[in-house]
Symmetry: C2
Subunit: 352 residues, 2 copies
């Protein structure tokens, strides 16, 4: 069933049907308009967007390329992007790369073939440069999330500042031995968080000790095992800053398994503020990333690009340190009872 069937049924030409359907302001006799609408309703006609797109060179489709939807940050981002897209009549094609370079290229190919109007490239861990040429060659708008590449616009959060804030928060509580568990170090966001951690230490005059830095992989398990090793070393840290919440949850589990209390024996801070963070006991201190807003903003940027408007190269969206119960003053500052529990306690005090 197509526009010709509708035209026949309504006794008009396909031009008129098209006008009634697409151009509300076009002058069509009221009676004709109603006849067309009636035919559309009776036939259950839905215009073929493939034909429309072919002609107009617009598919009303956005490609969303993300590394890993299992990371709870991305569903939020996808939600914000999709809600905004759908509000403006765009559909979102969902592409999950699993951080594999060949999948990135594959998805860009597919999206280009489908003539997506825009492509959102989110997350780190994959090198985007191999797809720059095709992206530049085609008439497609690109927005990058989480990193910045010169030919394209980007939406970012300030990982350096956020991690620095976490670190100074812990320093203000009295911590001097603050450990850091990174995510995969090939991610720029992770490099930035590490840099922010170090910058925070420096700002507070705390000497850098790389034995307190571990590389994780953003999974809880890696936070768990990194914490196990950190908490059994001597002197042990009084605070652990994990660069995402899932690893922080692993840290809390490791502390519990070692019989250590959070935050009395060990303060823990995460990053992301996933839902679970506020429902753990003690509730997790963490950095809230506005995932929904990031997605929504990326789509709004896209719409401005479609409209040919000027946009700033980088948009920084604010993070928010949410202080809950998993971070508190280290036990040492409260008295000597720490000695009973903590082998590294005395040594720890030397650092004060």
């Amino acid at each position: 069933m197509n526009i010709t069937d509708v035209a026949k049924k309504a006794g008009v030409s396909i031009s008129t049907v098209s006008r009634v359907l697409n151009n509300a302001s076009y002058p069509v006799k009221q009676e004709t308009r109603e006849r067309v609408l009636e035919a559309v309703r009776e036939l259950g006609f839905r215009p073929n967007d493939l034909a429309r797109g072919l002609l107009l060179k617009k598919s009303r489709t956005i490609g969303l390329v993300i590394p890993d939807i299992s990371n709870p940050y991305y569903p939020e981002l996808a939600l914000g992007l999709e809600a905004t897209a759908s509000e403006y009549g765009y559909s979102v094609i969902f592409c999950n790369t699993g951080r594999q370079a060949e999948k990135l290229e594959h998805y860009v190919d597919v999206l280009l073939q489908k003539r997506a109007d825009g492509i959102v490239l989110a997350g780190g861990g994959t090198d985007f440069t191999p797809v720059f040429q095709p992206l530049l060659d085609f008439d497609v708008e690109v927005v990058v999330i989480g990193r910045h590449y010169l030919p394209f616009l980007s939406v970012q959060i300030d990982n350096v500042a956020a991690a620095r804030e976490v670190t100074t928060h812990l320093a203000e509580l009295g911590h001097r031995r603050i450990a850091f568990i990174s995510g995969p170090l090939n991610l720029t966001s992770v490099q930035d968080r590490l840099a922010g951690y170090r910058s925070g230490l420096e700002e507070r005059g705390i000497g850098r000790d790389d034995r307190l830095v571990r590389e994780g992989d953003f999974q809880s398990e890696s936070g768990y095992s990194a914490a196990l090793s950190l908490l059994q070393a001597e002197p042990r840290p009084t605070a652990i800053f994990a660069s995402n919440d899932r690893m922080a949850i692993g840290v809390v589990a490791a502390a519990a398994d070692l019989g250590l209390k959070v935050p009395d024996d060990i303060s823990v801070v995460g990053f992301d503020d996933i839902i679970m963070a506020s429902y753990m006991r003690p509730a997790l201190t963490t950095v809230a990333i506005p995932g929904y807003e990031v997605g929504a903003y990326a789509m709004r940027l896209m719409l401005r690009l479609f409209a040919g408007e000027e946009c700033s190269q980088i948009t920084w969206l604010p993070t928010n340190l949410v202080v809950r119960d998993s971070s508190g003053p280290p036990r040492e500052t409260e008295g000597f009872d720490v000695m009973k529990l903590e082998r590294g306690g005395a040594e720890g005090r030397v650092l004060e």
Copy 2:
């Protein structure tokens, strides 16, 4: 840039270009083939899928309509679906209804206009019947996840059996006052879990007490407040079965806030087995739903429908009760020390 440009550059007709690109087995002189491929490469040509789809009446696109991607079950499902889809050359359009009826109709309209080859309708809470007629009218395959509707195929998990298994697991540990926190009761999956809970009670000869049943909304907060009310009632339950993990996490938080130990004072079981479940302390006993498999299977079903193969109306995928540390025998069975903690303790023993 289009197929004509490629043809010109290679000095052949567009027919030949098309054949080289799409029909590997079509007899084309080796030298011609190479000239075409060379031109494609040099121009960075990507065939227009809109034109292809218009002609072939195939868009190589699947619509995924889900209620709420923030529910951690759906990203897994989306991942399984998308991975399988992309493996077979299909793209996935992501549609999040937020359980709003009008959005469901909107998305079905959009997907029909985009001439999606298939539509996957997942989750409960929204009545699907209003979109049946358009779905039936169009040449589109439909797979339903989580419910069964006669005109369509479905992939389901057995919520009744899974909830019964949880309940008998708790009964076997010695629990008699087993509370249940449901999700939104308009969801068939929730109704099924409630039915399974009751069937488990009956199977173990435990009298039904509806004061032990609360309606939640799948958010942690509702589990938290339901647990607060359950745990402050008298006699209080010795076990709480929450019908998803997020609510179970709220239950654990409420128990902690009341100074109750899990599982000694109160056993807690969830449903879903989200990643967090295994990283809580105590780790959460819960029902694992194979989200990835459900998505992957739905896509495989779709492919079989495209191929015109016979498929069974309903496919049941297995759940798995994962017993961890949050469920254990009730304290009453271990001695009188319960009296110190539990106001309802003595009364509780009467029930034994």
